[in-house]
Amino acid sequence: MADYLPHTDEEVASMLAFLGLSSTDELFATVPEALRLAGGLDLPSGRPEPDVLAHLEDLAAANEGRADRLVCFAGAGAYDHEVPPAVRALAGRSEFVTAYTPYQPEVAQGVLQAVFEFQTMVARLAGLPVANASLYDGASALVEAVNLGAAASGNPTVWVSAGVHPHWRAVLRTFAAGTGHRLVEVPLADGRTAWPDAVGAGGRAPGVLVAGYPNYLGCLEDLAAVRRLADAHGALVVVAADPVAAGLLRSAGDWGADVVVGEGQAFGTALSFGGPYLGLFACTLEQVRRLPGRLVGETVDLEGRRAYVTTLRAREQDIRREKATSNVCTNQTLMAVAAAIQLGWLGTSGLAEVALRCARGTHYLRESLQGSAGVRPLTGSTAVVRELAVRTEVPARTVVERMAGEGFLAGVALSDLVGDGGDGSVPAADAEHGLLVAVTERRTRDEIDRYVAALEKAARR
């Protein structure tokens, strides 16, 4: 059977002879005898592609909850948006797929220019002048933003709104064990961050403030207040912004954010069970020398032709080593290229339209649920753009299970995000009964009507 190795037996023998060896085992002579694996790996032997593909198809088929079987009302940072054939075809081009980091710019102008265009689009979405070439995901972009903020302010105390995605906050906590940043979680009151007016007794003034826009419950935060608070303490403002909602909302940069981060999956990347996704990162020019990861800049070649290259490389790990601004090397370039293509496909009017349709669908769902017995909005007055938290009579996990039987992925149970005990964003009782529902531009009126009818039943005892 063929595999992906080109050598014929004769060629192997000839190459070994060229090296003065008589067997492939001798290639590993520098590996101490005692360490060598006797008997080989305890794995099945290789199988032909069609057999393996059949196995993977079986596994794929066992995912009953997939978005082509259940109508997807789940969001929480991962959305069922349109990914058109043109974007799939272009982002799947093997020149983009099978290249690596553009270390040789002369033969990497394709990726470099696509990333330059991506950076331009992300910067415009964020309302800031610089964006990097991508980070792993929304959570890692947030971690990097906080690292930048603490370094820039010289103050490692970070006030994080509980309205930031619970998983992102969890990742922030994990990495704070290494950086030593002091994370202070600022709770929500009825869906919006209750920023303290003053540093409490024994508390420490913040060097970084982090807010969501909209926050993960879909509510709009008062970013002007965040900026004022930051200015009072000499702190930087980091905003975790929904880049799709940015099609409808004032940009976070316009509100005064120093760093804007986000999850870019919505632009051209399928749900993918959570990855690979796309960490978006934009900041002010003032902070560009602290920017994490790769940055593409425009320049010229020897003949004065326009050309692109990774730049300000002295920030990066391969040059600055332990003093680098970040450890990131491999990033999510392919997702960035896909996002550039998707945003090119949407264009000015399309992005605005997608955002508006999300808001309309969310509004329609909210209206339709008015007065239903088992479901009510989790938060009160604040505006809802794209995601909506509701309180169900029975625990939300039960609702999700029941709704699966009706053909819907009903949403994400808040207890799956914040734990049964709740957190600063929702109290325990709301955590258990809270359901986060997302409506993208792909949800039709008929789907929403059927969803509401099913939910009214499923939510009741």
Binding site: L5, F18, G46, L125, Y308, Q317, T330
Partner: protein, 590 residues
């Protein structure tokens, strides 16, 4: 085999190598025929834009068309739309297709970029990653409705543990560097749990830049240990820097010189002796698949770069995946939630350690929302009680509430390890990359993976010996999957640098090797041919290098080299100007 055996006696056989591989067939990996069209710059999408033009088409929804004014409060509402390009779908497709023609890739030709393992990426993995059942699953889908994904992740974890000789793994880290930082935080948590505050992590001077950068982010200080004249960790120097404040050592083995650290057992013993842990940077795991395992060498923590060893495509710079596998004593610290086989669930039982549900002893350490088994939607504590009491899951599980394949109980669920360091990814890691890696592993199997390592090492050594007359070989002894050559003599003699050699190679129809890394080699040319290049391609590559070196010493050679490349879409790029006059977006153009 003595060291001399590999190559020395065969020096005179060089002609045989050529004869064997040039006359038989043309090289499959030489891309000099690539029709890179024209020499004009491609306009940006913004320049192709024309107001009013559009590509987008969205579903008919029937949702009432309220205006934005009725939906968003005025102070939050954007007054002008975000300005993006306005292009037709036809122009969009042409633009990105033309960009793709200005891009070298593995699919185009050989990509001997050292340390990056640019092997062929099997297309079957693309098919797998596009399967709707995988690509269209939401990451928050209840475990009972995502059993295929959980099974896939568990199978991959088990395979990776067998390959590395470790007890359990987290699949969350999105790339090698993310795995490094995860590993260092595991190290930190391990020492902290023992009440120890250790400050330093040792890395060799040949280490990749992500290692020291990760050490800093992990809250440690870097102590650098020099390499000896053989290119390996200097044991005497290592013993000098070891002490009770050392948290651990990070090693790449084979190291970044492509050499196997033969003293690894002594290193492991010395580091363990002072209570430190051994971290394995798996960037070079390709060389030792099925031959020797990090766990057997004494490593406690191992990251893998699935985008290298397991052939997941590099995506122009990413995505990758950097799972971290650990020895038994670190399993309870792993990030969570982890996919596991449920005790007595419908799935095959695992013999691997570390996947039994464990009690959450330290509520503070776990991330919120992670203290439950989402397979059956009850708290982990309940599950543990059940396990402890020996109550069968059939009694304990709520009957009939969860639909899944055969009407059986879910076989897989999520669990948070007892003293987890927490989450390191928004969701479960780069899942579709993980699916590709499992596919690759299953196609190869135990026998195929071993063959991968053999051919990778064979190719690298063949090139080492073949190019010995052409370049310096700073550490001329049997290498593993890559060889570090140097252009130091060439530079001294002809004024042609490693960078020039790299650019000249582009003119020859090949991607360049890695240059100037590792830092300890002057004018380094780090060549990793990988196992998927044929001997004909290697021979063509060697001849290209020979022509480059011969041309360097001909009259005007240095100038010609400095002017390379001339055949590429752009010529040498002005990097200094890019940094001096920063233009990071279209809007920043002067």
């Amino acid at each position: 085999m003595s060291e001399g055996a590999m190559g020395d006696q065969a020096m005179g056989d060089q002609a045989m190598g050529e004869e064997a591989f040039t006359t038989a067939a043309a090289p499959g990996g030489r891309a000099a025929s690539a029709p890179l069209l024209g020499h004009e710059a491609e306009p940006t999408l913004f320049e192709l834009s024309r107001p009013g033009r559009a590509s987008w088409q969205l579903r008919t929804t029937g949702v009432p068309e309220w205006p934005a004014e009725e939906l968003v409060p005025a102070e939050h509402r954007r007054t002008e739309p975000v300005a993006l390009a306005e292009v037709s779908e036809r122009d969009l497709v042409a633009h990105f297709t033309r960009l793709s023609h200005r891009q070298y890739s593995v699919d185009l030709g050989a990509y001997p970029l050292g340390s990056c393992t640019m092997k062929y990426n099997p297309k079957v993995c693309d098919t797998v990653a596009a399967l709707p059942g995988l690509a269209l699953t939401h990451p928050a889908t209840p475990a009972s409705l995502a059993q295929g994904w959980l099974a896939l992740l568990v199978e991959l974890e088990e395979a990776l543990c067998e390959i590395t000789g470790m007890a359990a793994a987290t699949l969350q880290p999105a790339a090698g560097a993310a795995g490094e930082l995860t590993g260092l935080l595991l190290m930190r948590a391990y020492h902290a749990a023992r009440g120890e505050d250790r400050r330093r992590v040792i890395i060799p001077d040949s280490a990749h830049g992500t290692n020291p950068a990760s050490v800093t982010l992990g809250g440690y200080e870097v102590t650098t240990v020099p390499s000896d004249e053989r290119g390996c960790v200097d044991m005497a120097a290592l013993r000098e820097v070891l002490g009770p404040d050392v948290a651990g050592i990070m090693l790449t083995n084979p190291n970044t010189l492509g050499l196997f650290e033969e003293d690894i057992q002594a290193i492991a013993a010395a580091v363990h002796e002072v209570g430190g842990l051994l971290y394995y940077d798996g960037a070079n795991l390709n060389a030792i698949l099925g031959v020797v395992r990090p766990g057997d060498m004494g490593f406690d923590i191992v990251h893998m770069n699935l985008h290298k060893t397991f052939a997941t495509p590099h995506g122009g710079g990413g995505p990758g995946a950097g799972p971290v596998a650990v020895a038994e004593h670190l399993v309870e610290l792993l990030p969570g939630p982890r996919p596991v086989r449920l005790p007595d669930g419908g799935g095959r039982q695992s013999s691997r350690q570390g996947d039994e549900p464990r009690p959450l002893v330290d509520g503070d350490r776990r991330g919120p929302g992670e203290g439950h088994y989402s397979g059956d939607h009850r708290s982990l504590d309940e599950v543990d009680m059940r396990v402890d009491a020996g109550v069968g899951p059939s009694q304990a599980l709520p009957a009939g509430t969860v639909p899944h394949p055969a009407g059986t109980r879910p076989a897989y669920g999520w669990v948070v390890p007892a003293r987890s360091i927490g989450r390191v990814h928004s969701w479960h890691g780069n899942a579709l990359v993980l699916a590709r890696a499992l596919t690759y592993i299953e196609v190869h199997g135990a026998d195929g993976l071993r063959r991968v390592a053999e051919r990778a090492v064979l190719n690298a050594n063949w090139l080492r010996v073949r190019l010995r007359p052409t370049f310096d070989v700073p550490f001329d002894r049997p290498c593993m999957h890559e060889v570090v050559l140097a252009a130091a003599t060439l530079r001294r003699r002809d004024g042609v640098r490693a960078l020039d050699v790299a650019k000249r190679l582009l003119e020859e129809g090949f991607h360049a090797p890695t240059v100037y890394f590792p830092l300890i080699v002057d004018e380094a040319l780090m060549i990793e041919p990988t196992e998927t290049e044929s001997p004909q391609t290697l021979e063509a590559l060697a001849q290209a290098f020979e022509r480059i070196v011969a041309d360097a010493s001909a009259p005007g050679g240095a100038e010609r080299a400095a002017a390379a490349p001339r055949t590429t879409p752009v010529r040498r790029v002005d990097e200094a100007r890019a940094a001096r006059t920063l233009v990071p977006t279209f809007d920043a153009r002067p």
